[in-house]
Symmetry: C2
Subunit: 331 residues, 2 copies
DNA sequence: TTGTAAGCGTTATCAC
DNA sequence: GTGATAACGCTTACAA
């Protein structure tokens, strides 16, 4: 029933015109109190649900925001999405989500598919895209936020952190602690932010005279079992490794569990460090050394920026939410 | 530019009617090869992006699916959502997601907001809803899938597992292992599935003559730090506890780490058990005893069912994907 | 195979 | 304060 009733039905039932009903629905002031109440009653009676397809078509503007992220299983991104969703909800905006699996072609295809819905704004991940994606985004004439990375020029706006700076900070920290034989685990070519960190980390170490053992063993996502198995492999390849850095905390957690199992004392026999600053890292007997990022806040800020721009409030084009080096006892 | 070009523009540029362009765009057969190619060229040239607002309005049917879940931070639901998203993508359907924070009023409000977009289908979590939500869903005249729980009558379809049966299986298993003094951690009143499990677990234990210590200490989500801290509290309250069951694996993981830290040997000094069967549970030195659920599959199946119904293929109204008792070495 | 005309359910605009 | 009317961009139904 309710799906089929329209403004016209309400108008007839209430004995007014469609426009009056429309005004009431949208909370437009120019309706007398009496008619407004009458209309509101009939709306509830017949269970009218506005059709935003028609509304947005006429109004040339929707309250949907396209959100494109690489993964939902990686909880970094589900946390970012949680932040986005929470903020959008407050303003009665709905996120339409797409998952790229770290694939830029898929990102492009998703974007094209989603643009058909004329979203009010687009939130995408990272600053790297196909040419076509960039061109679409540039011509979209809606706010565009690129999240996670702020090291580069955004198409429109960006919110995130500098992954290379973060990786360098970690490298410096570990060097200052006296570690000398470094291992790295979890590098995925198609995770651009992680690749950026890896590159910066290695280069910083090289600049300071240290090498890095980094077996390219994964196509799989760097989760806890992968971290555990990877640590085993890396230590077989380079048994004298001082400290292993993982591309994220979850993998590092796997490394920590491996060490526990093999009676490798952290950080005395060997040290580990992660990336993300997930809460679980602080549950280890030796709290994890890691780079904490502000995932929820990145999502919230991105969404807030979108909403601000849409309501004409000026915003900063580039927002670096930074990171925090957590000097745990695991390194 | 591209956002503003319409069928009419393409039609004029290609020297055909709007309808012909429309047919080409939708892959309608009834267009000659020559004109089809010409139209396709001009579409690419001027960068036309169809407007699905208009299309769906005319066609009275959209390719968006409303997905309402309690949380994105709890990775059980991000995994479910990942399954949904992956399947929908294949058919060029987009999920519009809403997060309820385990709040039924919010679920209702979100649903109302989303129904305005005339989604092709709705996927909601659990079988418990407000009366208004149920009424909206019943009258929606679109496929509705309730996910996670199949113990009850669905509004339309449901996909998930029987939480009480799962909890009973775990209780029986632990009893058969000889445990006698049970603890339970992580019960949240507003997480209906978890509450169902807790209730079934306790009742089963009672039926077999055992009690249960279950401090209601959380309003916070049962994550790893909460599991760790909760274990501490519970053991202070009931130091002789044989085995602690957690409302999910993440919390149980926290418990395991607590035990490691306190040199409580698992499962000799005490045992633990989780729920979900996350991969991380198997990274412990003593693989976790838990109930494995099929989260990705639940999402996939829900989405596939939606797509099947939409294309007229008959489906089962209730799909119990079951669970698997993982008899780890932690219990 | 292609084109014309009438909606789809709103909102913007301009009368009254 | 309220109401006609013309968009919005597309698809259905029918005509050529």
């Amino acid at each position: 029933m309710s799906a089929r009733t329209t403004l016209k039905d309400v108008a007839q039932a209430a004995g007014v015109s469609q426009m009056t009903v429309s005004r009431v629905v949208r909370g437009d002031q120019a309706v007398s109190l009496r008619t407004r109440e009458r209309v509101q009653q009939t709306i509830e009676q017949i269970g009218y649900v506005p059709n935003k397809l028609a509304g947005s078509l006429a109004h040339a503007r929707s309250n949907q925001v396209a959100v494109i992220i690489p993964s939902l299983v990686n909880n970094v991104f589900s946390q970012v999405l949680a932040g986005i969703t929470a903020e959008l909800e407050k303003a009665d905006y709905n996120p339409v989500v797409g998952v790229t699996d770290y694939n830029l072609e898929k990102e492009e295809a998703l974007l094209i598919s989603m643009m058909s819905w004329r979203p009010a704004a687009v939130i995408v991940t990272n600053l790297i895209h196909t040419d076509r994606t960039i061109s679409i985004l540039r011509n979209a004439s809606v706010p565009v936020v690129e999240i996670m990375d702020v090291d580069g020029a955004p198409i429109d706006m960006c919110v995130g952190l500098k992954h290379d700076t973060a990786a360098q900070a970690l490298a410096d920290h570990l060097v200052s602690k006296g570690y000398q034989r470094f291992g790295y685990l979890g590098w995925q070519t198609n995770d651009y932010a992680a690749a950026k960190r890896f590159k910066a980390f290695r280069e910083r170490l090289e600049a300071r005279g240290y090498g890095l053992v980094a077996p390219e063993i994964y196509n799989a996502p760097p989760d806890m079992p992968a971290g555990k198995a990877g640590t085993d492999l890396l230590l077989k390849e380079a048994p004298l490794t001082d400290v292993i850095v993982y591309s994220n905390d979850t993998a590092a957690m796997g490394g920590a569990l491996f060490c526990q199992e093999k009676n490798i004392a952290l950080p005395d026999d060997m040290a580990i460090a992660g990336f993300s600053g997930l809460r679980m890292g602080q549950c280890l007997p030796q709290p994890m050394t890691t780079i904490r990022t502000f995932r929820l806040e990145i999502g919230q800020t991105a969404a807030r920026n979108v909403l601000k721009v849409l309501s004409g409030v000026p915003v900063m084009r580039k927002i670096d939410l930074g990171f925090e080096l957590i000097d745990g006892q695991s390194a």
